[in-house]
């Protein structure tokens, strides 16, 4: 996959190259070849002022048009005004030719003005360029007709000249337009393609996350359901009830995880606390401070630990969170067994204390944004037993 921005640059460069080649053709043509024709045929022009004036008008229109075109600031109106100026200059030049010299050695304007039209009207609707070329061609043909010079030989010459000048110029313009359009389409396609790839990778990540959660849920829930269905698990067994309760709580938390709320962590903790209360637990949940943005992997862990403790609590639990812009401290105290978190490994260090006399578990999880250890390992403290009484 190519970088879309480089495609845009490539298109811009391509358009610029086309403009430069056109400007070069015209500059060489008008400032070298036309000057040579004028210089060589100077004595024979019927009006020197008309000859020189028409050349100058074309030169000025050419320079102004080229500069604006190369700067990328040539507006459609300016282009049309300059095109009309060159067309009229072409008529003036025609007037300066001696009789019978419309296609002779001193004529210069027809071809040059035609190229000016290509330069100025390349980006205008094709009809405008065709109209311009028609008017530019009609004038010399009309003069020839008035002079009565049109015979079979002249018709053949005109056909050759028109094909060689107007035909070639139109072909150049049309090919240029076609190539520019193709380049633009290629760019659009590349951009759309890049967007699709981006969207696809997001979709894939979301899908992979769903699959992972689904697999985790299935691996844990399926054996429970199977056991309950075939009678190998007894619903009145405390361990079975605790396991099913925990999985129900996990499902509930997963549902809460996708909810769109300003404080996802609090929302998920509240969901866990609600579920524990519904189970008959006396739960107090107190929160102070404004929660910061927390990475999903950390948030999941911060929510999962209290969930496990709440689910294992016998009768009561106190869930507290204290947050500020840089730190989140989640704590849960409950009359839960000491080993419920023994296989808990996660993104944030855990502090676990078990008070044996009171049979209560006190777990504290701290996540610090500055010292974010999302890639680090857990430093779960082994449950310690001690004696204590509340103050």
């Amino acid at each position: 996959m190519s970088d879309p921005s480089s495609d845009i640059v490539a298109t811009a460069r391509y358009a610029h190259a086309l403009n430069v080649s056109l400007v070069t053709i015209l500059a060489v043509w008008h400032f070298a070849y036309d000057v040579l024709i004028l210089w060589r045929g100077w004595p024979s022009y019927t009006s020197h002022a008309a000859a020189l004036g028409s050349w100058l008008v074309v030169a000025v229109a050419l320079v102004v048009g080229s500069v604006l075109l190369l700067r990328g600031t040539l507006g459609p109106t300016t282009a049309r005004v300059l095109a009309v100026a060159t067309l009229l200059a072409g008529y003036l030049a025609l007037d300066s030719y001696p009789s019978g010299q419309v296609l002779g050695e001193v004529s210069w304007a027809w071809n040059t003005v035609g190229w000016c039209g290509v330069l100025l009207l390349m980006r205008a609707p094709l009809g405008e360029l065709i109209g311009f070329q028609t008017l530019n061609t009609a004038a010399p043909v009309l003069v020839l007709a008035v002079e009565g010079a049109i015979d079979r030989v002249m018709v053949a010459r005109l056909i050759v000249v028109i094909c060689a000048t107007v035909g070639f110029q139109l072909l150049f313009a049309m090919t240029g337009r076609l190539l520019l359009r193709t380049a633009r389409q290629a760019t659009d396609l590349a951009l759309a393609d890049a967007e699709n790839v981006g969207r696809r990778s997001v979709d894939e990540a979301v899908h992979a996350g769903r699959l992972l959660r689904y697999r985790q849920v299935r691996e844990r829930i399926e054996p429970l359901l199977r056991g309950l269905a075939d009678g190998s698990l007894d619903p009145s067994d405390d361990a079975v009830r605790r396991a099913t309760g925990l999985e129900a709580a996990r499902l509930r938390r997963l549902f809460a995880e996708t909810d769109d709320t300003p404080d996802p962590l609090l929302h998920e903790l509240r969901a866990s606390a609600d579920l524990a209360e519904r189970r008959g637990l006396d739960v107090s949940f107190v929160h102070y401070g404004q929660p910061p943005e927390i990475p999903l992997v950390v948030r999941r862990f911060l929510a999962e630990v209290p969930l496990v403790v709440l689910n294992s609590a016998a009768s009561w639990a106190r869930l507290t969170t204290l947050t500020d812009a840089g730190e989140v401290i989640v704590s849960v105290v409950a009359d839960a067994p000491p080993d419920v978190l023994s296989d808990m490994r996660g993104a944030v260090p855990l502090s676990v204390v078990f008070d044996q006399e009171e049979s209560q578990l006190w777990v504290e999880i701290r996540w610090n944004r500055a010292a974010d250890s999302t890639s680090g390992s857990s430093t779960t403290t082994p449950s310690s037993s001690r004696e204590s009484r509340p103050g």
């Binding site: 106190r318 704590s331 105290v333 008070d355 006190w362 204590s388 509340p390 103050g391």
Partner: protein, 208 residues
């Protein structure tokens, strides 16, 4: 409340009208007939009435406003009888008592004029808020429950410097000096913060 021999209930009312002038402690519901009574707290504290703000609302702003106005303590309605009794007994003797709810509010106080708590005071408040057991906090901090209590009380005393001056706050500070909890030199420092002075080491800056 009436079961505790240390406490005698002499007045119960739904308004502040007809309040006896000789109460040791007044337990005042912050929401009296649908009206917040923070201003009344300030007025009563000016008249040296010790007040325990008692409320089901535990929003930090409300708790801090009650303490700033001169309430001696804040007790949340959900915190239970034991905390209320302990608070009444402590407040009657001009001693500070910090409930876990008030501790949570104090430790999360990020106002610009919040007192600067020392790291140990912060930890003591935080873990008291979390566990509601000073013995558990003491064990986790590796100190005695008495020292935990001292850190919590010292943190509370720093709040006596916040908000308007009140005789209840002054009385609490005087009792703290008598108890040896703080020295008169520490009290003399507004906010109690004076880096490098050995007499006020316990009052040094907060880490957050």
């Amino acid at each position: 409340m009436t079961e505790d021999p240390r406490i005698r209930v002499v007045h119960v009312g739904h308004t502040l009208e007809g309040l006896p002038g000789s109460l040791d402690v007044l337990i005042l519901d912050l929401n009296l007939n649908g009206r917040l009574v923070i201003d009344d707290i300030a007025e009563l504290a000016c008249a040296s009435q010790r007040i325990i703000a008692y409320s089901q609302f535990t929003e930090p702003d409300l708790v801090l406003a009650a303490l700033d106005a001169g309430a001696s303590a804040f007790v949340a309605k959900g915190e239970g009888r034991v905390h209320l009794v302990e608070t009444v007994v402590a407040v009657a003797a001009d001693r500070p008592y910090v409930t876990p709810t008030a501790a949570g509010v104090m430790v999360s106080d990020s106002r610009p004029d919040a007192p600067r708590l020392s790291e140990r005071e912060r930890i003591a408040l935080l873990w008291w808020f979390q566990s509601m057991s000073k013995a558990s906090v003491a064990h986790k901090m590796g100190i005695s429950p008495h020292t935990v209590e001292m850190y919590i009380r010292r943190a509370r005393l720093k709040y006596a410097h916040v908000g308007r001056a009140a005789p209840t706050k002054a009385d609490m500070l005087v009792r703290a000096i008598e108890d040896g909890l703080v020295s008169a030199e520490e009290i003399a420092e507004p906010g109690g913060v004076h880096e490098g002075d050995p007499a006020v080491t316990g009052f040094q800056g907060r880490s957050r």
